[in-house]
Symmetry: D2
């Protein structure tokens, strides 16, 4: 089951075309992931334990523009857990019309903040990540 | 009575000092004003009627830093209605501790979007603005 | 030959980890493309002719963090011209050390601003785009 | 003599009105100050010495909109050095037409990063700051 957040499009989200700027969507997706990290991993406490999630790839399709006043629904779940990395799938739709706006796969590694090194995703983290599928 | 919104501080709001970046607060204040404009003035419909609010001055005091995970409460009301401009007062506090974080006065004019000219704030607009005091 | 721009990393580009925020790189890439559009296509004049470039996919790899004071070199060229879309390839390296920081493929279509519809990339536009390879 | 930087207005700087967003100007001013801090104070080295400049007030007047393709000239000097704080004056004009776009006073304190406390601005710092007048 995807986790869901809603964001209402404001004037400061738009760009020269009067549409939400491409860059801004990455903040919306980051907002969705912070919400999830907080809900399931007690962020920012996990952060204080010395671990961080670091994004290594973002692949985003822009399907349709969004405009002032639109309410965007962002649906997020974990689509893949690998040995060294895992991937979130995000779908952004217009909450009123279900029009697809954008979708993205965001792949991350887990690093030890002290060393800055990625760690293998073993049982402890795998079990925690399974909750996000 | 002030209108209130809440914003949770996320990693992308912070800067080199680990605190919410000064610039980001202006987006938080803009978010507060969009909420109000929507609630009282049917924005973005008012926008479609051909009027816009244009900020001519922002005067913001930064009182204390805010950190990852803090919930900020933004309290907004209209503090002044003049002949040609009006002023919003914003107070940002840490919602958990009441620690003052920032406060700002934001002065705006009302423009006709076609001409780009500011209009005098006469009875019709004054009555609408009185609701925000 | 790639076109090159340089951006120095400032405090407001960083996030909770003290590194350039993932989202900010998309603004750096957009800056690179505006520079190119201006140089080869007389933007914003082309824009006034009624055409716009609209990004439909961004696929970005984050290779290494960048820190306060780093000078980033962004190398951009057109890597593909298709029938309906074309793709920019961006490489971001630390200008002092050649450390790869990020690379991205950004696919766009050309739209008529009036209709909002994508147009086929035929000879006129193909010839212009060939200059960017 | 003011220090000068130039920034060209891009599509991602604009908002719903097709003009540079109010918030974005604060990033432009911050860019101007980083340039100065680097030039006169060996930032980010000063930062590594354990001191930071923290803004306590920004008072900005928005005089005229700026549009896609405009080149903005930002002129910055130190207008006041007090016992506990000092103030930068910024003027933003259209570089081609000299049209005033915005002006701002930005007041800051110097803090020890370890304690987070502001320090008095005594001879050593005063002498350094005098260079910016």
């Amino acid at each position: 089951m995807p986790d869901i957040i809603h964001i209402k499009v404001r004037g400061y989200h738009l760009d020269v075309y009067g549409h939400v700027n491409n860059t801004r969507y990455l903040e919306f997706l980051e907002e969705a992931r912070w919400t999830i990290k907080e809900k399931y991993f007690d962020f920012p406490q996990t952060h204080d334990e010395g671990f961080g999630f670091v994004v290594v790839n973002t692949n985003i399709n822009y399907r349709h523009y969004a405009e002032l006043g639109d309410v965007l629904e962002i649906r997020t779940h974990l689509s893949r857990i690998g040995a060294k990395s895992a991937t979130f799938k995000h779908e952004i739709v217009n909450a009123a019309t279900e029009q697809p706006i954008a979708d993205a796969e965001v792949t991350f590694v887990i690093i030890e903040l002290n060393s800055g090194k990625a760690i293998p995703i073993e049982k402890k983290w795998r079990d925690r990540l399974e909750l996000l599928k």
